[in-house]
């Protein structure tokens, strides 16, 4: 679904966000807020949360094409 380059790009972008930033997701889940390290971990694991974060970041990056 995603290339290795795309995943690396998203991880690289997430590494640059502020350390004390939190991303909250309005979806119904046991956990709804994630710090920078957790976001990166979800992306690496390619679970549902990670995939959605990849989609979000790639939508933005692709808007410049």
């Amino acid at each position: 679904m995603y290339t290795e380059d795309e995943i690396e790009l998203v991880v690289a972008r997430l590494r640059t966000i502020p350390d004390n930033a939190i991303l909250s997701i309005g979806h119904m889940q046991d956990k709804s807020q994630f710090n920078k390290d957790e976001l990166i971990e979800h992306v690496k694991q390619m679970d549902d949360i990670g995939k959605k974060i990849i989609d979000m970041q790639l939508k933005y990056v692709r808007s410049f094409k």
Partner: protein, 220 residues
């Protein structure tokens, strides 16, 4: 044009996590505007945002405009502690012939599209909200959250100003684009690191915002 008499506006305000705390706190701006425009707000807060209380309030007060704050999914709007309060196929008829703003993830996709609301503004995919850990006790002053929240609440603010839902949706979309353009094209008070998070959130949320129903619906 379908015009609704506008005695009551119902606002659900759960606060069991940061996302609901932020949405509920920011909703005070909608409430203030509604009151200035002669609309009586009915607030359901905290633990009271449960299915029984919400259903009873809708049936008793018959609000023409409902603002749901909380989590959600394609067919569900949740209340306190993720309790489903509106479920497609179970009690979605409660939304029929009302103007609905659902500040929840995904509920626009199935519920919003098919619930029979006079008009429904919401999101058909996940909604992302960014925030600063050190600002979570002051949601209105959270530098990361301000752009996202301002765009999101623009639509219900416009409805409370008695604008049509189409005008409300357009104003919200314009606000998203204004923030995106401003941050992308010029220097701002935000750092590059902050924008790496804010801009993708804004663009994603803008794309996922949907409007269904009668575009000309408004509160009378």
């Amino acid at each position: 044009m379908f015009v609704l008499s506008s005695d009551f506006m119902l606002v659900t305000m759960p606060d069991h996590d940061l996302a609901t705390q932020y949405a509920s706190t920011w909703s005070q701006q909608i409430i203030d505007i509604a009151e200035k425009n002669g609309i009586k707000p009915i607030l359901i807060k905290g633990k009271n945002v449960n299915r029984l209380h919400v259903e009873t309030t809708i049936n008793d007060k018959n609000p023409n405009f409902i603002v749901f704050n909380g989590h959600g999914s394609e067919d569900t709007i949740a209340g306190h502690n993720f309790e489903p309060i509106i479920i497609f196929g179970e009690n979605h008829q409660l939304l029929k012939n009302r103007i609905i703003h659902a500040f929840t993830c995904g509920s626009g996709k199935i519920l919003g599209k098919n619930c029979g609301a006079k008009a429904f503004i919401g999101y058909d995919d996940w909604f992302f909200l960014c925030m600063y850990r050190h600002s979570t006790n002051r949601p209105l002053e959270d530098k990361l959250a301000i752009p996202v929240m301002e765009c999101a609440i623009e639509a219900p603010k416009q409805i409370a100003k008695r604008k049509t839902v189409k005008e409300a949706y357009n104003k919200s979309q314009e606000k998203y684009q204004k923030w995106i353009d401003e941050y992308t094209l010029s220097s701002s008070k935000y750092t590059t690191e902050e924008l790496q998070l804010i801009l993708p959130c804004l663009m994603w949320n803008k794309t996922c915002q949907v409007l269904y129903g009668d575009n000309n619906a408004k509160l009378n």
